[in-house]
Amino acid sequence: MNCDTIRELLPLFDDGRLTVREQMDVRDHLLRCSSCRDELNKIRETSSFLHLLKEEYHDPKKVNHIIRQVKKDQKRVEPLEWMRNLLRQPVPLGGVLIMTVFLATVMTLKFWPENPIPLDKVSDISLLNESDTFMSFQSPVLMRAFSDPSGSTERSLQYAEIKTADINGHKQRLIERLNDFPITLVNESVIDENTILLLFTVRTNQQDEVITQIKNLGYTVIPPLVFLDQGEWELVIRIEKEVTE
């Protein structure tokens, strides 16, 4: 081995981490090479210098300070830890979420205004014509039916909003099915290429059957919203159907 190779190994010579072969080669070389012996001396002296930095720090004040800080941080961290632990446990978290949703639903139903918002204050009112002031539509709703707000208890106005690529097919199907009931198609209005509104009347006491029929057609009937207008109850039934075409 030449000096360069030996000097690569010299820093590890005293650690005993060289292989037996390397250890022997280094030893043999050092016996013959004073320059590499000087190099080893420097490394050993450097190591001795480093030992000057082996001071033992022990400061009770600093130790106490750290303990105090840990106590302080512990108080600050504990609430967060509590939250983290809660999040780690799906069952209690799920329970909390379910309870929250349940309570929100109950509160909503319980405190739903007995004197509901007048129709003219509902934000997204659209009108079929001047006389249809009671109409209210909410954009995601595909079909709605309203009772007659004019005071008649015998018949009610029903509106259907159909949103589909096959408007005529749905309209025809709906009317055919509702033909079993004494309904009258009063008006229809095309909103856009995918939406048509059907206005029809039906006897109030047959509303439930009508709704059942509509459900049987594959529409989803959402629980009604009740509005009060000019002293009369208006029954708003939201009916949705997924567009699968």
Partner: protein, 207 residues
Amino acid sequence: LILKSLRKTSSVTPLSQFELLVEQQYGKVFRFSLRLLNNSADAEDATQEAFLRAYKGLTRFKGDSSLATWMYRITYTTCMDMLRTKHRHQDSSWSKEDTDLWESLPDRSLTPEQIALIKEDRNRIKKALSLLSLEFRTVVVLREIEDLSYEDIARILDIPIGTVRSRLARGRRMLSELLYAENKACELTDYPSESGITTKKVGTDEL
């Protein structure tokens, strides 16, 4: 013993047991932080942060390594985080303005002249050490100052033992070159043997 008593604890480590850990490991953690950060104020912050992390993670300590090695590992990652966040890689070199805490340490049975010589040599080695890049400095400090085995160093730094070996070899050589290049004319001083810092010249009979 501390480890056994700590591991018996369930989810929260009692502070009394943690205090014992701090008392036992404080010196090592602070000294290691000081050599990595080259600044006593930063080293104090790092020491505190390391113990805080240790307290939080003590229940997760599996006992795969010694408690000291585990503390070194936490201290190392804490110091690295500090260097990263404060962008101190550039100005982490040792500065004379930093107080040499060694001077304030008690129980020095040395004469004022010896203390002055040691102080001078400490400054030389500290300066040379601070000029080493962090990856070499860390390995040299853990081996030469903290007296750790290659295996423990590999565990602390999460690197292979072969890397520890090569970094140590290069680090020691570079440090030696820095030390002697800076002051070629400086003769190394032989210190009293009781201080444990005597240097020896190697001869052919000592190989």
